[in-house]
C-alpha cells in the first residue's frame, strides 16, 4: 500500500486519500455516494454502466469514478444538471433494453436498477421498449438465469472468476446481443465447472439470476465479495 497521499476536491469538499484510490472510493470515504450499478466492492472495476460518470474541471471529458484514480489538485463534481440528465438516460436505456416489469420480477423491491430509477427520479422511459425474448435457463437444480432481466453488468462473471475462481460464467456474442453463458454455452444443468456456490445470484443487481423457491431477501447478499476478500486478507 502506497503511503503517498493525494489532496483533491470532491463537490467542494477537501479530500485526502492514498495515491491510486479511485474517485468513487475517495468520495465514499467522505460520505459522498456516487450512483453505481456494475461496480461492487471486492470485485475488479468494470466501467460499463456509466452511472458513476463525474466531471473533472479543466476537461470536457467525463470520467467513470469507479476506474479513475484520484490525482493531485483534481476538482471533481459528482452532481450537475448534465450528469443527472445522463444518469437518467442511462437508467432509461437499461430499462428499455430488455424486459423489465417490476411487478412480475422476483427481485421486486430488492432490485438495484429499480432503486436507482427511484433514486434518480426516472418517472418515464423516453425510448421505445425493446421487449426482448432472451433465453431462460432453469436446468440447474436451483439456480435460474432469466436473461430478459440481465443488464450485462458482469458482476456474476467477475464473482465467479475472481472470488469463486471457477470462471463458469462468461459472455458470448457482442453488442446488444451479448449474453451471459455457462462454460462453452452449455445449459447450466450440464455445466461441469459450476460449483453451485450461488455467489452469482447473491451479487446480481437485478432479478436475472436467482435461487428458485428461495425468498429473494435471503438470496441477495451483495456484500459477499467484499466480505470474502476482507476475510482472505486477514492473516
Amino acid at each position: 500500500m502506497s503511503t503517498n497521499t493525494v489532496k483533491l476536491k470532491i463537490d467542494g469538499v477537501d479530500v485526502t486519500a492514498a495515491e491510486g484510490t479511485t474517485i468513487l472510493k475517495a468520495a465514499k470515504d467522505v460520505g459522498i455516494i456516487i450512483p453505481t450499478l456494475c461496480s461492487l466492492e471486492g470485485l475488479t472495476a468494470y466501467g460499463g454502466c456509466r452511472l458513476c460518470l463525474v466531471e473533472v474541471s479543466g476537461t470536457p471529458k467525463l470520467f467513470p469514478a469507479c476506474t479513475t484514480p484520484i490525482g493531485p489538485g483534481m476538482d471533481v463534481t459528482t452532481q450537475s444538471d448534465k450528469l443527472k440528465e445522463y444518469r437518467k438516460i442511462a437508467v432509461q436505456l437499461l430499462l428499455a433494453e430488455r424486459t423489465h416489469i417490476c411487478s412480475v420480477c422476483v427481485a421486486d423491491d430488492h432490485c438495484e436498477l429499480q432503486a436507482m430509477a427511484n433514486q434518480l427520479g426516472v418517472d418515464h422511459v423516453m425510448f421505445e421498449r425493446n421487449w426482448s425474448r432472451e433465453e431462460i435457463d432453469s436446468t440447474h437444480d436451483f439456480l435460474v438465469i432469466d436473461r430478459n432481466r440481465c443488464i450485462l453488468c458482469t458482476r456474476c462473471i467477475r464473482v465467479c472468476d475472481q472470488i469463486e475462481g471457477v470462471h463458469t460464467l462468461d459472455l458470448k456474442l457482442r453488442g446488444k446481443d451479448s449474453q451471459v453463458i455457462m462454460d462453452l454455452d452449455e445449459k447450466w444443468g450440464n455445466s461441469c465447472s459450476c460449483t453451485s456456490c450461488r455467489k452469482c445470484a447473491k451479487v446480481c443487481p437485478v432479478g436475472a439470476i436467482y435461487v428458485e423457491g428461495e425468498p429473494i431477501e435471503h438470496t441477495k447478499k451483495r456484500d459477499v465479495a467484499e466480505f470474502i476478500v476482507e476475510r482472505r486478507n486477514r492473516k
Binding site: P69, L94, E97, F127, G175, K176, D177
Partner: protein, 540 residues
C-alpha cells in the same frame, strides 16, 4: 548491393502491374501473365522487367499498369491489349495514347510520402525496397542514441494516423521513460471501416516501410518484441507481410543482433477476426493477448501498462511508414509539409459519388473542396454534390458550406467530423441524409462490443428511432430523442467507438435537419431511399 543495382540497371524499361486487392478482381493477374508472355514473344525480356507491384492509386480504372521510365500510366488494361503496349511502347518507343490515364487532375494535388513506393516496387522483393533507400533510416538511427531518434520525431511534429492524432514523439517518450520491462510495440492494421482500404493497400504495396518503422520505434523505446495486428480479411496483405518478415529475418534486419549490432527485435503477425472494435487501442491489446476484444478504461494508459501489463507502444501502420522518412531526412524536413500544428500527409480512401475514387495521399491542410473536386474530379453524371462523410462510419456528414475547411485533426473535430481511419465518402443529391445516418448507426450497433450502456443500449435505440422515421411513423419528439441520446453516447461511452458513433447522427441533425422534418412531417424522402419496404402503405 552492387550486384542488385547492376541487376536493376540492366533493364531499360520496367512495367509495374498493380496486383493489389483493388486491381486483382479486374483481372490484374491475367494482365501480369500476358505481359510476361508478350515480353518473351517480342524477345525484350532482357531489357524490360515486368514487376508485380502494389497499388498505383487509380483504383477506379484497374487494372492499372505503370511503365517506367517516364511514369506512363495505363488504365483499364486488358490481356488482349497487352501485346499492343509491349509492341508499341517497349519495342517501338511509342506509348499507346488512348489507354493512358489523364494524370493531371488526380495526381497534381497529391503528395506521396507514405505511398512513396506504392506501385513502384515489387513488395515481394526486399531488394526493391532497399534500392529506393529502404532500411537507410534504420541504419542511420542505429548510429544514434534512442533519445536523438525521439527528438527527431518530436521535431517532425508527426501525429498518430490512427485517428486521434496524439503526438507520436510524445508517445514514444512516455514508453521510453516507463520503468517496467520488457516493452512491446503493436502495429495497428485492423482497418475495420466499410469503404476504407488505406492501411491494407500500404501493407500490400510497401510492407517493409511498416517493418522499418517498427524497428526504428523499437530502437527508440527499447522494445524487443512487436506484433502487427491485422484482420484475417486481408489475405494478400498478410501474405505480403509474412514474406517481407521472412526476408528481413534472412538479411538480419530482424531477430538477434540486427545488422551485427546488439540491437534485437522480433516481429510476429497476430490475426483479428473482423471485429471493428478490435482496432481500439485497449481492445487490440486484449485481442493480441488472446482475450475477447473489449476495450478497458484508461488510465492505466498502454504506455505504462499495455500488453501483459507491460509498457506498450501502439501505432497505426501509416504512422509507422512515415518514420523511416523522418529519420532519413530529418524532422525539420518533414515539418515543412502540411500545417504547423499538423505536419505531413494523410492517406484517404476516397469513395462514393466521385469521378476518381481511389487511394489518395494529400498534405495536411488541404481543403475538403480540393479533395472532392480537384483530386476526386467532382461528382459524376452532372449530379449535384450534397455532402461528404469524413472519418468512416463514425465520421461527420459535412455540407457544401463547410468544404473550405482545411483537413487537419482539430478543424475536423470542430465541425463534428473526425480524421478517423481516413475514409471520405462523397454523397450526391441521390443520397438521403436520414438514410445515411441510419446506415452508419446500424453498422455501429452491430460492431458495439456491448460493454458500456450508452454504446450498447443507446445505439440500438437510435436504430429503432431511425426505423420509425424511415418507415413513416416518425414524430417530432423523435428528433429530441435522437439529440439527447446522441450526446449521452458521445460523452458517456467508454471507448472511441461509442464516443464517435453518433457523429453521423449529430452532424446530419445539425446540417440537414430539414430532411428529418420532411421525413417526419411530410413523410417524404426526396432521394427516394426511405418508406420503401414495409412503409409503402403508410405513406399518405
Amino acid at each position: 548491393m552492387a550486384q542488385e543495382l547492376e541487376f536493376q540497371n540492366a533493364y531499360k524499361y520496367r512495367i509495374n502491374v498493380c496486383c493489389s486487392s483493388g486491381c486483382v478482381p479486374f483481372g490484374a493477374l491475367k494482365v501480369l501473365k500476358a505481359f510476361e508472355d508478350a515480353v518473351k514473344e517480342f524477345g525484350v525480356e532482357k531489357e524490360c522487367k515486368v514487376a508485380r507491384t502494389g497499388c498505383i492509386g487509380t483504383c477506379s480504372v484497374g487494372p492499372a499498369v505503370l511503365v517506367e521510365p517516364g511514369d506512363y500510366l495505363y488504365q483499364s488494361v486488358t490481356p488482349e491489349r497487352v501485346r499492343e503496349i509491349v509492341r508499341d511502347h517497349i519495342v517501338l518507343g511509342l506509348p499507346v495514347k488512348d489507354m493512358l490515364y489523364e494524370r493531371n487532375a488526380y495526381f497534381k494535388k497529391q503528395h506521396r510520402l507514405v505511398l512513396r513506393n506504392a506501385g513502384k516496387i515489387d513488395p515481394s522483393r526486399i531488394q526493391d525496397y532497399i534500392n529506393m533507400g529502404g532500411y537507410g533510416g534504420l541504419l542511420k538511427c542505429l548510429t544514434d542514441t534512442p533519445q536523438a531518434v525521439i527528438n527527431e520525431l518530436i521535431a517532425s511534429g508527426l501525429r498518430g494516423r490512427g485517428g486521434a492524432g496524439f503526438p507520436t514523439g510524445q508517445k514514444w517518450s512516455l514508453v521510453a521513460r516507463a520503468q517496467n520491462s520488457p516493452k512491446y510495440i503493436v502495429a495497428n492494421l485492423d482497418e475495420g471501416d466499410p469503404g476504407v482500404f488505406a492501411n491494407r493497400t500500404l501493407a500490400e504495396a510497401d510492407p517493409h516501410a511498416i517493418i522499418e518503422g517498427m524497428l526504428i520505434a523499437a530502437y527508440a523505446i527499447g522494445a524487443e518484441k512487436g506484433y502487427i495486428y491485422i484482420r484475417s480479411e486481408y489475405p494478400l496483405a498478410i501474405q505480403t507481410l509474412q514474406k517481407a518478415i521472412a526476408q528481413a529475418k534472412a538479411m538480419t534486419l530482424l531477430g538477434e543482433s540486427i545488422l551485427e549490432t546488439p540491437f534485437k527485435f522480433d516481429l510476429e503477425l497476430r490475426f483479428g477476426a473482423g471485429a471493428f472494435v478490435a482496432g481500439e487501442e485497449t481492445a487490440i491489446l486484449a485481442s493480441v493477448e488472446g482475450k475477447r476484444a473489449m476495450p478497458r478504461p484508461r488510465p492505466p494508459y498502454p504506455a505504462n501498462s499495455g500488453l501483459w501489463q507491460k509498457p506498450t507502444l501502439i501505432q497505426n501502420v501509416e504512422t509507422l511508414a512515415n518514420i523511416p522518412l523522418i529519420i532519413q531526412n530529418g524532422g525539420a524536413w518533414f515539418a515543412k509539409t502540411g500545417t504547423p500544428k499538423c505536419t505531413g500527409t494523410k492517406c484517404f480512401s476516397l469513395t462514393g459519388k466521385v469521378n476518381n475514387p481511389g487511394l489518395i495521399e494529400v498534405p495536411m491542410g488541404i481543403t475538403l473542396r480540393e479533395v472532392v473536386f480537384d483530386v476526386g474530379g467532382g461528382v459524376p453524371d452532372g449530379k449535384k454534390f450534397k455532402a461528404v462523410l469524413v472519418g468512416g462510419p463514425s465520421g461527420g456528414c459535412l455540407p457544401d458550406t463547410l468544404l473550405d475547411i482545411p483537413i487537419d485533426y482539430d478543424s475536423l473535430v470542430k465541425v463534428g467530423a473526425i480524421m478517423g481511419s481516413g475514409g471520405i465518402v462523397v454523397l450526391d443529391e441521390d443520397s438521403c441524409m436520414v438514410d445515411t445516418a441510419r446506415f452508419f448507426t446500424e453498422f455501429c450497433v452491430d460492431e458495439s462490443c456491448g460493454k458500456c450502456t450508452p454504446c450498447r443500449a443507446g445505439l440500438a435505440r437510435l436504430k429503432d428511432v431511425f426505423g420509425k422515421i424511415t418507415n413513416g411513423a416518425g414524430e417530432m419528439s423523435d428528433i429530441t430523442t435522437l439529440e439527447k441520446s446522441s450526446s449521452f453516447i458521445r460523452d458517456g461511452s467508454l471507448c472511441g467507438l461509442g464516443q464517435t458513433a453518433p457523429n453521423p447522427v449529430i452532424t446530419t441533425l445539425r446540417y440537414f435537419k430539414d430532411e428529418y422534418i420532411q421525413h417526419i412531417v411530410e413523410k417524404r424522402c426526396d432521394a427516394g431511399k426511405c418508406f420503401k419496404s414495409r412503409g409503402e402503405e403508410e405513406i399518405e
